[in-house]
């Protein structure tokens, strides 16, 4: 029994780590622009495709696979960050002063664009990652098995998140980001280049998300052009559970969601798992409308 619980813990933490990485992008953009960037999930999956290209093209070049994988991560992060920046410039910046919902629709449009762009570039069928990219190592403890990809996912996400947290909460630039998040004009009056801050959010979030996307590719070894929605939605839920706009919240939400998924599927019902997840989400919202770590700033009247 303990073995099963441990195994489910491993299962959950793996997926949770991926969710958390993607959730960070949602939360950062939301924090600064109050915008649900519906295109974020697609950007992340775009990252997986870019990684796939790198891995596919380098496969015969005789490099050690680990190096190749590392290069794929960097390439994916860079390309997706560039895409994020381009997205911000074209789809969101012109709507900075418009109604919030206009930007949401623009984001939905961007999502369709990216998703179907991927389809046009890579075709409407599943794409499969090469196997054997990573050494087939695994460890057994207490009846549970964990393999190298899973360890990499957990470690990678933990480190990235910690760095990001430190950056946003303990550096001047991070404080400036939070200031821009709360009042852009006032931030300008402090000498903060708000446009640059927003751009940096659209660089950091997608770059981290691309890492998450590539982890998906390495772990499940199949990607599909509409997958951005599924993962994006889950990550978004994670961000909400944790308290959207809040970086530790995104991490907490992602991990909780992953664990919850695993335990719900493993012990309750695999086919109702998603419903149980949403029920949890709605329950949390009703009890804590701003998520677990979201601070309630009551509206002053």
């Amino acid at each position: 029994m303990l073995g099963i619980v441990l195994q489910q813990l491993v299962n959950g933490l793996t997926v949770g780590g991926i969710y958390a990485l993607i959730a960070l992008g949602y939360t950062m953009v939301y924090g600064v622009l109050r915008l649900i960037n519906f295109a974020h999930g697609d950007l992340c999956i775009f990252g997986a495709y870019i990684g796939l290209v790198a891995l596919g093209s380098g496969a015969g070049s005789g490099q050690s696979h680990l190096l190749l994988v590392g290069a794929a991560f960097i390439l994916a992060a860079v390309v997706v960050a560039a895409a994020g920046l381009a997205l911000e410039f074209t789809a969101y910046r012109p709507l900075r002063k418009a109604d919030r919902l206009s930007a949401v629709v623009s984001a939905l449009g961007a999502s369709l664009f990216i998703e179907n762009g991927i389809m046009l570039l890579w075709g409407p069928q599943l794409k499969v990652f090469p196997s054997n990219l990573l050494p087939a190592m695994h460890w057994t403890f207490g009846g549970a098995r964990i393999d190298l990809v899973q360890v990499l996912i957990m470690l990678g996400s933990a480190v990235l998140m910690a760095v990001l947290y430190w950056f946003v909460h303990h550096t001047r630039y991070g404080t400036a980001m939070r200031a821009a998040a709360s009042d852009q004009d006032a931030a300008r009056l402090m000498g903060i280049n708000v446009n640059r801050v927003i751009s940096s959010v659209f660089i950091i979030g997608p770059a981290i998300g691309a890492v998450g996307g590539l982890f998906i590719g390495l772990y499940y070894r199949q990607v599909y052009f509409t997958m951005g929605w599924t993962y994006g939605l889950n990550a978004f839920i994670a961000a909400i559970i944790g308290g959207i706009g809040n970086i530790p919240g995104a991490m907490l939400g992602g991990v909780l969601l992953g664990l919850f998924n695993a335990f719900a599927a493993g012990f309750l019902s695999s086919s109702w798992q998603e419903a149980i997840t949403f029920a949890l989400l709605i329950g949390i919202l009703l009890v804590r409308p701003s998520g677990l770590l979201g601070e309630r700033v009551a509206e002053k009247v």
Partner: protein, 256 residues
Amino acid sequence: MSDGSVGHSMRLLEVENLDVRYGQIQALKGVSLRVEEGEIVTLLGANGAGKTTLMRTISGLLRPRAGHVRFRGEDITRVGADRIVRLGISHAPEGRRVFPTLTVAENLMLGGYTRAPAEAAQSLKQVLLMFPRLEERSRQLAGTLSGGEQQMLAIGRALMAKPRLLLLDEPSLGLAPIIVRDIFRALRQIRQQGMTLLLVEQNARMALKLADRGYVLETGHIALQASARELLESPEVQATYLGRETSSADGARQQP
């Protein structure tokens, strides 16, 4: 503060023929004004006259349709707000606009965002001396401060940039009489430190008593400009902006 590098003939701030629109509404029409180094200039005007609009245009938050803003001889009309701060203009905006989800300390720290940390720390000491309440509340989220406390924070935050020119938009709005006085005292202190001030106030009497010169803005254009003393004595100004003394002989201010 009077460094010789700035030629004496050079105006600190010069606004020339400014036109600003919000969509169809023309908020400013051909507004010109100037502020000399070390002066306190006040801007009077009814609601909607365009005072805030003028301030926001100077600090770069709004782009004028036509006209120029020059600061120390340099044309800053098209310069972004964040760069203008670096040039030496600080703006404590209307409605305080503190960062509600940041602490008081973080708000102040951002006020000195453009400066070296060590210099900013120096200014912080002075600001906290001027507004001790802010020191007590330094870890509180700014959004939960009362209106007066927020106003102190907004002024303190603007001072953190150690500006040459401080723009203050209605610092006394919604504040208790006693606080209003405190704030004006603080403003006097600031002036003694040699800072230049452009002040918008509904409380015309107090503003004119503090200022050297004043402008009266009416529906987007300058209707009157004169020394503060002249304005105080002008019948038009008295009728519209200084009603307290003439209309209500029993106003609070007349009490011993």
